[in-house]
């Protein structure tokens, strides 16, 4: 049965999981800032060993492709691509926010909308809005949160806001009784792996060589400054 290694490094949490035919075998989460670069690969080795597998058992690598921290996505994606190349394994890209929504859905009633949020700078978050069955209401976007954000939904829907971008929005959004804020939720490779299994079953794979993370924002470099001559 297909074994999928899942890698989630889009926030400071470094999370990995092994699934067999969509069933979770093992997982590990390290909630230490700036630890990806050092611990991701040794953690994978450790998880494989303790699960009684070898790297060769891996059929596909699922990567939480973003949005999220550029550094985290870089480490996760490069590592995943290296593994896929060496093992001739398939690469599966999973939207980080969709995996978070999947993880939260089972704890919510079917009427409550799901809004996973990943912290960007200041009042900005990366988010989407999904129904409990994961149908997307509002696609992944970078949103600067103010009092009017989500007012169209909040008027007649409960929304659960969660993820490391959610708590900073509570003060701005939290006045109505329809907004629910849930702290302490980090993205998890367990959920990435569950969604990856669906993709694996449908044969939805990425091109391993050309795959890039979902940065969400194009990087716009400042125009080079003209050479100023003083005096």
């Amino acid at each position: 049965m297909a074994i999928i290694l899942s890698i989630e490094t889009s926030t400071k949490t470094s999370s990995i999981a092994l699934h067999e035919a969509g069933q979770l075998m093992s997982s590990q989460h390290i909630h230490v800032d700036k630890s990806h670069s050092e611990y991701l690969t040794p953690s994978i080795k450790n998880l494989i060993d303790t699960s009684g597998l070898t790297m060769k058992s891996i059929d596909a690598v699922a990567i939480s492709k973003g949005p999220g921290s550029y550094t985290g996505l870089r480490i996760g994606t490069s590592t995943a691509k290296g593994i896929c190349y060496a093992l001739d394994a398939r690469l599966i890209g999973v939207n980080t926010l969709e995996a978070m929504a999947y993880g939260m859905a089972k704890f919510m009633d079917s009427e409550t909308l799901l809004c996973p949020m990943i912290d960007a700078r200041r009042m900005e978050v990366y988010c989407l809005v999904a129904k409990n069955d994961l149908e997307i209401h509002e696609p992944t976007q970078a949103k600067v949160i103010d009092e009017t954000s989500f007012s169209n939904f909040l008027a007649d829907h409960k929304i659960a806001f969660f993820g490391n971008g959610a708590m900073k929005c509570e003060e701005v959004l939290g006045h109505g009784k329809n907004a629910l804020f849930i702290g302490g939720i980090d993205p998890s490779a367990e959920h990435v792996g569950a969604l990856a299994w669906q993709k694996f079953s449908k044969g939805e794979f990425e091109d391993t060589a050309y795959f890039e993370p979902f940065y969400l924002k194009d990087f716009i470099a400042k125009k080079p400054s003209a050479n100023k001559l003083v005096g």
């Binding site: 290296g82 050309y210 470099a221």
Partner: protein, 335 residues
């Protein structure tokens, strides 16, 4: 030394070139380099852009290197990769990819210092310098004189206090309106001109370098001349380039000469991208002739950033059984 049998894949992504090389038993079988022309648009390297470009290039470059070498991944004995110094985001892409390979192929990872690898690039092809030797490493990011006592013992005798010499070429070129990187263009124009505009040579203690004063002097010189003649730069481009190159080469020559005298060493090596500069090659050739130096300059493909030199450094470590853990971290500075 007995040459160990080993097939090594090397990866280099410290700055703006993505490179992979395969070395078998000490011989380079392939050395693929993908340069990022995009930075010319910005007039210099933009780190986030460089990191993203490495991500686009890395798998293709590694595949091309193995393909050209005719080596399958399962024939590899080790993965060597630059861990630093360099740009954090750029290093991260290559090193993470290298770790993914090493982990999956169950072969050792060898993390390599980029500056040491520049020096060790001299061991790729014959003739090789004899220990102890001096290496003048001149690139877009570094300017150093290194005393190399053996394969593992490096002493930085002097280095730049501000800009690197490649940077000085590039920034001077920018003042002249030349595109990035301007070094090779200045070299070309200089060969057609006369070094008739004098710029001051900074007096710096010991074997250290400084290039920021030269840049400022050029800036004021151009400002003053352009006041008199708005077409000054266009009309004197070759001579201005020759003068700039002459000054920068003079600074380098004086220091390496001083280092050779102080340390009584006549084995002199040059490494890094600026080793391509024809003025520098000529000046050192003349100096070496007069002083009885044995001068070593690697083939051009091993001067600019390349994975061939990382493979060489990796091979030397491999022979000694020195490997790195999968927890190796990238670093911005250090020799």
């Amino acid at each position: 030394m007995e040459k160990a049998q080993a097939c090594i894949l090397a990866i280099e992504s410290s700055c703006d070139d993505t490179s992979a090389a395969v070395m078998k038993d000490g011989v380079v079988l392939s050395n693929i380099i993908a340069s990022q022309a995009i930075h010319a648009k910005y007039g210099g390297i933009v780190p986030e852009v460089a990191s993203r470009m490495h991500q686009e290039n890395i798998a293709l470059v590694v595949d091309a290197a193995l393909d050209k070498a005719g080596i399958q991944p399962d024939q590899l004995d080790a993965i060597a990769c630059t861990a630093g110094p360099g740009l954090m985001g750029s290093l991260t892409v290559g090193l993470s990819y290298a770790k993914g390979l090493a982990l999956s192929l169950q072969i050792p990872l060898i993390s390599i210092n980029h500056m040491r690898a520049h020096v060790l690039s001299h061991f790729i092809d014959d003739p090789v310098p004899v220990f102890p030797f001096l290496c003048l490493t001149v690139s877009g990011g570094h300017t150093q004189i290194v005393l190399v006592k053996d394969e593992d013992t490096f002493e930085v005798l002097g280095q730049t206090l501000d800009d690197a010499v490649g940077e000085a070429f590039d920034k001077s070129g920018k003042l002249l309106g030349l595109p990035y990187p301007a070094g090779p263009i200045i070299d070309k124009y200089a060969s057609l001109g006369d070094a008739r505009f004098p710029f001051p040579i900074p007096q710096i203690d010991g074997l250290d370098f400084s290039f920021s004063g030269v840049k400022t002097a050029i800036m004021y010189f151009l400002r003053d001349e352009k006041k008199k003649d708005p077409a000054f730069v266009a009309n004197n481009m070759n001579d201005i380039c020759a003068s700039i190159q002459h000054t920068l080469v003079e600074i380098l020559s004086r220091k390496i000469m001083q280092a050779a005298e102080e340390h009584h060493i006549s084995e002199i090596a040059v490494a890094g991208g600026v080793a391509a500069n024809s003025g520098l090659r000529r000046a050192l050739g003349v100096l070496g002739e007069a002083r009885g130096w044995n001068l070593y300059i690697p083939a051009m493909q091993y001067c600019t950033d390349n994975a061939g030199m990382i493979a060489m450094a990796g091979y030397l470590q491999f022979q000694k059984g020195r490997f790195s853990g999968l927890d190796a971290k990238p670093y911005v500075r250090g020799m």
